[in-house]
């Protein structure tokens, strides 16, 4: 029993250790704004002639069809149509964000690429897929795949904490000190939550 729990704890922990590290490091970057804002001044704009215009509308399928034509990939965040002439599409990727403006009159797309910087790559993954834009979210396979990893990391944490608890409890010599650590943790956690909720 002990051996089985230990092996489970170990192998799951080893596999997920890079992902746990990503979440831990990016949390500190979030808390202290240690990732610089997107480098707007380094943005690049290109104009690309379109072979065919995307059909009217604001659907994800239309945005995807346009992106295929432009040989672009990424997670579509929103599509906004302005009158008969312009359609705006915002696309995000871990290292950059794209603003695509489709000019129906001149049959061209103006693509503005804003670099996000290395540290913001971690922020991207920390908040993806996230609670926003539910209707369109997970439209890029990378975000879909990361979403599974994010879920799996949660299950891994639950599994590792449960197996860790059992492994500790089976070691009689560590029970007292462990209870003290657990009790201190409960007090800190409980005290903070009570103070915050009021």
């Amino acid at each position: 029993m002990y051996r089985l729990l230990r092996e489970l704890h170990l192998y799951v922990g080893l596999f997920f250790s890079p992902f746990l590290s990503i979440y831990a490091i990016s949390a500190v970057l979030f808390n202290h704004l240690w990732a610089p804002p997107p480098a707007e001044e380094q943005a690049k704009t290109v104009r690309i002639a379109l072979e065919t215009l995307p059909p009217d509308g604001e659907s994800l399928a239309q945005a995807r069809a346009l992106m295929r034509q432009l040989h672009l990939s990424g997670e579509v965040e929103w599509i906004h149509r302005r009158g008969d002439r312009w359609t705006n599409i915002r696309v995000v990727r871990p290292h950059e964000s794209l603003m695509i403006e489709v000019d129906a009159q001149n049959q061209e797309a103006i693509v503005r690429t804003i670099p996000e910087g290395a540290r913001r790559v971690l922020l991207f993954y920390h908040r993806m897929p996230g609670p926003h834009l539910v209707k369109v979210r997970r439209n890029w396979f990378v975000v879909r795949a990361w979403g599974w990893i994010a879920d799996a990391t949660v299950y891994a944490i639950l599994l590792m904490t449960t197996t860790g608890l059992l492994l500790w409890w089976l070691l009689k010599a560590e029970r007292t000190a462990g209870l003290l650590a657990l009790g201190l943790g409960v007090l800190t956690f409980g005290g903070l939550v009570i103070a915050l909720l009021g």
């Binding site: 192998y11 490091i25 979030f30 808390n31 943790g185």
Partner: protein, 215 residues
Amino acid sequence: MSPRKGLFVRLWTRKLHFYVGLYFLFFLWLFALSGLSLNRPGWKWLAPEFRTESVPTERSIPHPLPENDRAAAQLVMETLGLRGELHQTERNLQTGTFKVWVHRPNRLYIATVEQKTGRVVELGERRTNLWGVLRDLHTFNGVSTEDRSQRRDWVFTTIWTLSMDALAVGIVFLVVSGLYLWIVRAGANRRWGIVALVAGTLLALWFLIGVPWLT
């Protein structure tokens, strides 16, 4: 390192691995479950619910309100007894009102004050259920990467942020100490451990480096 010293380091690394994990147990559960709720907004049983109620108040704010938004918001908060993180302010020139959002993980106060008279036009309180509270705790740090003008101004936000930092350090310690304990495990067959570690690392590197490089 002498064998005795090595044994001592190994023993204490194992003890600390246990103690740190146990200390942060509830923090880990909180951030894991709230993370699941944030990433699965379509799962109804994990979804937060909100209800906003109007709070009757007879109080009025000393007027005229300070021109500085932050100072004006603090005056509104003190007068109405609203404690929490100052989330947002808004001056509406058309209606002549000043609006303040005060945030705590389980509630959001929205106060609308008439600038000339100091009359509280409306005081709303938005409450949420357990999942809403968990989600708020997950993201409650008083700053925003999108709006860098926001700053932490409530002492408990600062303490909570520091505890999140401590958890991050704790997780890194658990990862590093776990790796160390696995490496020094006497006579262990490390093959499957190497497979698990390399697979996880390669997958993470593909997301971090491979995706930006390929797209």
